[in-house]
């Protein structure tokens, strides 16, 4: 299948792929927005949520915030290298980013393991339902992003489809920003 002419056109001046990524993010924002607004409304109506939130591990949450933000820096480095046509180096920075994602997931897994073993399971009450669902939905995005990044890195190594390095970078920053909202809402507000 060859690419249609339609894909190569750019009436807006923005590349088609980039435009589509922004629309994907727009639809993702309303998905997370709906979930977080629901949580916020519940949080305001239920002061006892603060007590439940006290059982979350703020130190590990902060570490994860640091890990994720650092991985975003690697994604920026990858984009910089790709812009200069250095595919191999871009791929290496992408692998570093994936490393950040894996660290994040490991810490998350450790946290959850602890909380579940202490009896704070998803069905305990609405706070824990929100906690696992929101963080879990975010973690799914981390996993999905990491997989796509590996695929893009395979191409980038061969200096192919280098424009995609920027696209996954945009997405990765979004995943970051969602966490920036989740961390204070679920961990800090006690």
């Amino acid at each position: 299948m060859s690419r249609p002419i339609a894909t190569t056109r750019s009436v807006t001046g923005i590349a088609t792929g980039k435009l589509a990524v922004w629309w994907v993010l727009a639809s993702e924002i309303v998905i997370f927005g709906g979930l977080l607004c629901s949580y916020l409304m519940h949080r305001l109506g239920h002061p006892e949520f603060g007590g439940y939130a006290a059982h979350t591990n703020t130190a590990l949450g902060a570490t994860n915030t640091f890990v994720l933000l650092t991985s975003s820096l690697f994604a920026v480095r990858a984009h910089f290298e790709a812009e200069h046509g250095r595919g191999k180096s871009a791929a290496n920075w992408l692998y570093m980013t994936v490393g950040g994602a894996l660290t994040f997931l490991c810490i998350k897994g450790y946290e959850w393991h602890h909380e579940i073993s202490e009896g704070f399971v998803i069905s305990k009450n609405a706070f824990w339902s929100f906690y696992y669902t929101a963080a879990g939905l975010h973690a799914c995005h981390v996993i999905g992003g990491a997989i796509i990044m590996l695929i893009i890195a395979q191409d980038a190594k061969k200096n192919q489809e280098l424009q995609r390095v920027e696209l996954i970078g945009i997405y990765w920053h979004f995943v970051d920003v969602v966490w920036i909202f989740l961390f204070p809402l679920l961990y800090i507000a006690k």
């Binding site: 056109r9 979930l35 009450n125």
Partner: protein
């Protein structure tokens, strides 16, 4: 505004020597087998037909369901030919799945996905959607969602029966809904369908933004393309919270989470907010494409420019924005703050202004035109007339004072059928009869088309006008058998219910004529030629049906889409791609 200059040169270069990445078949599509051509196609026109036929098949199922439960309404407890006696559980499952199918598996796939896919690349003068493989994936996910929904009717416990709005706790707890598997499969099917339309919508919006023919400016875009694009953005912006809500509902059903359980700090009203925050914009998601279709047909068959193109466009934007602020009018009796009810009453009544304005624009377009009453034109005019009834009755329901009395009666039901039937049935027939020549290269039979039109529109009114009356007489929507309610079991109301049911039977019988006409014309109809209606838009400037790649040479655009009867020209139409 960058436009590769050599674009035309290799518009039909199927061997793609300069497309070195991610390509699967190096030898183009001329030798495609059956599967690649019909089931695994990336061609937007084939995907459009897949959506059209899947939607039509689902519509038949939804129609059959309405036949079964209407028979139960008119003749409770009797054997329904072709179905059997309708049990209370089956009745709930029938109405739930009728609603779900007609909105999500008929209106959405046909109006937006089928006609959006078919028309957007053709009307914008490009060879395909910008992401053909995502387009194919969108249809495949949609098909999967339909299969999941159908499968949910056959699992132990049967299909979901908690109404298409799926309010918890009924939908969240299997000890209430008695369908432990069916209700989860219903949510998953709906969620998959959302994913399919999000993917499709991104394709539509990106194509319209980036891939228009050289020279096609914002206000040269045909109205139906604008409307489908606005609807796609509206869908994208409103469905997100309900996607989150669907995850929450499935978790409540299967993992025992407490999102909608007040005992554990949750709230069942939350679902109503998430559902209607999507559900009300959804009305406009399907209405706007229908309005766009009618705009194309009315201009062509009155040989006049669309009255106030820009006003219609800005009105559509205004409607889209306003539609986010009306959702709580579905919840006037759900215990919301009465002060909020006042706000939502105001916004709801306000939104009837832009819609009324669009209808006036159509009348102004018709005024003084040379009107030809072809079958598509009859459907378009029928849309205007019938939709107005739906709009006017909506004002009673948008006002909290009267809605408290009408809530959940047949008045509500008749009202929204007067909006959705014009959208999902009348506008779909308008579009199908209008673009049929382009889709299949042959003309449909006009006489059969007109018989089908009158045989649909008259019984349609026969069904729902009596239901307004039974609703005002106190008939509640969710009653299985009125014989159990002596005050509703009066001769007058019984006759009304029977009249509605008999009208439905007549309406269903007349659909046979459509299918005969459709399939006979597809194979035996007389050839249509490129432009049988003498229309201006770009899809009519190529052969019928268009080949893969759409145009022998991709067109340039020189003017707006509605230059009909321009003084000083010999012909009364002026194609968008004609030089001069």
């Amino acid at each position: 505004m960058s436009q590769p200059a050599e674009e035309h040169a290799h518009a039909h270069d199927d061997h793609g020597h300069d497309h070195d990445h991610g390509d699967t078949g190096a030898h183009g599509h001329h030798e495609d087998g059956f599967i690649k051509k019909y089931l695994w196609s990336v061609d937007h026109k084939m995907i459009a037909k897949q959506y059209l036929f899947t939607g039509m098949a689902m519509g038949l199922i939804g129609g059959f369901f309405s036949y079964a439960f209407r028979m139960q309404m008119a003749y409770p407890g009797h054997n329904v030919p072709g179905f059997g006696v309708v049990s209370p559980n089956e009745y709930n499952q029938l109405i739930t799945n009728h609603g779900t199918i007609m909105i999500f598996w008929l209106a959405m796939p046909v109006l937006i996905a089928a006609f959006g896919n078919f028309l957007i690349p053709l009307m914008l003068g490009c060879d395909d959607m910008v992401f053909p493989r995502i387009n194919r994936l969108s249809y495949q996910i949609f098909l999967l969602s339909a299969i999941v929904l159908i499968a949910s009717w056959f699992v132990p416990g049967g299909g979901f029966g908690g109404a298409w709005t799926a309010y918890p706790p009924l939908s969240a707890k299997s000890q209430y809904n008695l369908t432990p598997l069916g209700s989860t499969m219903w949510v998953i099917a709906v969620a998959l369908e959302f994913v399919a339309f999000l993917l499709g919508g991104i394709n539509f919006v990106t194509t319209a933004m980036n891939s228009r023919a050289p020279g096609m400016k914002m206000f040269d875009i045909p109205m139906v393309v604008w409307m489908i694009v606005i609807a796609s953005i509206l869908f994208m912006a409103s469905v997100g919270p309900l996607v989150a809500g669907a995850v929450m509902l499935v978790f409540d059903q299967q993992l025992g989470t407490g999102f909608f359980d007040p005992v554990r700090g949750g709230d069942p009203i939350l679902w109503q907010h998430l559902f209607w925050f999507f559900g009300h914009p959804e009305v406009y998601v399907v209405l706007l494409p229908a309005v766009g279709i009618v705009a194309e047909i009315i201009t062509v068959f009155s040989r006049k420019k669309l009255f106030a193109y820009k006003t219609v466009l800005y009105t559509a934007f205004g409607t889209a924005v306003l539609s986010f602020f009306v959702w709580a009018h579905h919840q006037f009796i759900a215990g919301i703050d009465p002060r909020m009810a006042n706000v939502f009453t105001a916004t709801t009544v306000l939104i009837s202004i832009p819609i009324a304005e669009m209808m006036f624009v159509y009348v102004a377009t018709l005024y003084g035109g040379s009107i030809t009453l072809t079958t598509p034109m009859l459907w378009a005019l029928g849309f205007i007339g019938e939709f107005i009834i739906g709009g006017v009755t909506g004002i009673f329901l948008g006002s909290s004072g009267s809605d408290i009395y009408f809530h959940d009666t047949y008045f509500v039901l008749a009202h929204f059928h007067y909006t959705f039937v014009p959208i999902a049935v009348i506008a779909v027939f308008a579009a199908t009869t209008y673009w049929f020549p382009k889709m299949f290269g042959t003309m449909m039979n006009e006489t059969l088309g007109k018989i089908h039109f009158w045989g649909t529109v008259i019984p349609f009114n026969g069904i729902f006008i009596p239901l307004f009356i039974t609703g005002m007489g106190g008939d509640h929507r969710r009653i299985y058998n009125y014989a159990n309610f002596p005050e509703q079991w009066t001769p007058h109301l019984i006759q009304m219910r029977e009249f509605a049911t008999v009208s439905l039977l007549v309406l269903i019988a007349f659909q046979g004529i459509f299918f005969i006409n459709f399939f006979y014309s597809m194979f035996k109809g007389k050839p249509a030629g490129n432009n049988p209606w003498n229309a201006n838009t770009l899809e009519w400037q190529t052969v019928s049906p268009p080949p893969h790649g759409n145009f022998a040479e991709l067109p340039n655009c020189y003017r707006g889409p509605y230059e009909y009867s321009v003084p000083g020209r010999e012909e009364d139409f002026w194609p968008q791609n004609e030089v001069g």
